[in-house]
Symmetry: C2
Subunit: 364 residues, 2 copies
Amino acid sequence: VTAPSAKRSDVTVHQAEPLNLEPPRRVLVDHALTPTDAFYVRCHGPVAELDPTAWRLTVDGLVERELELSLADLHARGDVREVVATLQCAGNRRADLEEVREIPGELPWGPAAAGTARWRGVPLAGVLADAGVGHGAAHVAFLGADLVEEGDPGQPFGASIPLAKARSPEVLLAWEMNDAPLAPSHGAPVRLLVPGYVGARSVKWLQRVTVTDRPSANFFQARSYRVFPPGDDPDRAPADHGVALHDLAVNSAILAPGDGERVRAGRLEVAGYAIVGGGRRVERVDVSVDGGASWTLAELLDDLGPWAWRRWRAEVDVPPGRREVVARAWDSAADQQPERAETVWNPKGYANNAWARVRVEAEA
Amino acid sequence: VTAPSAKRSDVTVHQAEPLNLEPPRRVLVDHALTPTDAFYVRCHGPVAELDPTAWRLTVDGLVERELELSLADLHARGDVREVVATLQCAGNRRADLEEVREIPGELPWGPAAAGTARWRGVPLAGVLADAGVGHGAAHVAFLGADLVEEGDPGQPFGASIPLAKARSPEVLLAWEMNDAPLAPSHGAPVRLLVPGYVGARSVKWLQRVTVTDRPSANFFQARSYRVFPPGDDPDRAPADHGVALHDLAVNSAILAPGDGERVRAGRLEVAGYAIVGGGRRVERVDVSVDGGASWTLAELLDDLGPWAWRRWRAEVDVPPGRREVVARAWDSAADQQPERAETVWNPKGYANNAWARVRVEAEA
């Protein structure tokens, strides 16, 4: 196990092979930028161990010139930049959906399958401009180095994003995370970073960038990472029944207190994060201890820009007894999270953005 | 009353002065593009009657060159284009919020305060490029010709949008709607068109475009058109308690059958529209006649592009008795509408995107 995160004894190992790690919630509360060793790790295949000096990126498809770029080529470009961005796993908060109904074969992520880092790299847009985007181009597809048996058939992990997003300046070919070279578990030597999208599109161990006229036919774009209607069998339903995930809908999580925690009745500090994609902003977070009958406005902490979560805190009055603490975020479209996990439930358990809820036992 | 819409006997006149008209729901079902005489009209002040030959648009603020443009100047530009776009009033579907709690002083719009048209004009982006956007620019503000007493103090209706949106190619200085010159009630001779945003930002009778470093201080941007928390008095609360509306959150409406309609039990055709802003797409509409326990996937009709609503239809089985028909839309971020109007309710009654509901009396 090569992930730095695995060195922490407080990390939840959802799976060892492929490696899937979730940090403790408290660490996310305590840091504006998530320490790399507490950043969730989501893999579908083995962690690739690539020689950075031998690494090459192929840029092909509907381009005027195919490119083959080394890490040194990327470093030498004039447009190196940093972006602070949150990645959120499509399965983040799945555990709450599993309380509604079982989701067999998927990992029971809590609300810490999300983290925020400072990423350094070059905009994909500049590399695409160098290659010359050709007529009919509409999407850009990506392939990693990890051969994934879960794909049907087995294939490297892949994804695609619309060309307009690929040309947005926040989308990076990234080689640094929090001022250090990428760890193997985070996609070294170079990964794609697609801020505002589900983590699955930020392909690790990037090998190939292909400009195309349609979305990728890779298993993880064409079949998986889709929100199917509740009654569908996602292995058999027509793919277009499922909504292919990209932009993140507004979401929030309560990181403290923990679910089931015993607390002192009276003033209680509640803390968490809220996030939304699409360049929208988190505008407000409300916290309730009476099931939504009344709400306390949370304080929004450090503003890290349009691609990062907003951490928040609130103080609420909790009467003695078993209580549920609820949080909901609003974005700049005045969109709020759905109230109940029951209405969000879907066969693969993706994109849970129902109101965040933790139960506490408040002692007088 | 100069609005073409007022010639229809079936239009609801919410207010005669200022003019506020809502068409019958059935018309919106029957047309992919809303006939101009059935397009909602929202005014805060008198309908301006401007001489198109005398009309001039001033472009100023943080620009390298101030411009003064005539309608002929706009017509003569090389970048004239058409955009099919839906406008949705921020108060659309307010009537459903008023069933939760009264909203005094606001118009009780039903779900037909939205319409889709083909708009012809020139991208604002090109005009801004000609003026030369200066250092520190971050927003673009707009002023109309209508003096509005409701403003505090009285002032022309105004708005602003972020510079990035102003530079997006779908934002037009528009002079035609459905292949005819704009009617006075729709902002003749030239209005702003901001697809994907609440209608209030598409300033009518446009007089002035001002590049600025901050959002407009105009009453309708700085104080009104904000979603305040339920407990706030919006006239007194700090403005930043309210979320200033721009991008539309995912929304839908049931246009047929009508609320309270008697229908035949058995197969029932349900029809409506769904919409979302931000360039997101409507991906799915679900219809339920059992309160959300089971859902029928609606058929999505003509795709008019990323800035237009998606009309839909579904056939459901309705048992005899009093029934509620429910619809919810999902967008390309897998975001769905909130379930209950109670959680959407806000003091000014804006941006109602709760599940659409109509009651029917199904006769055996």
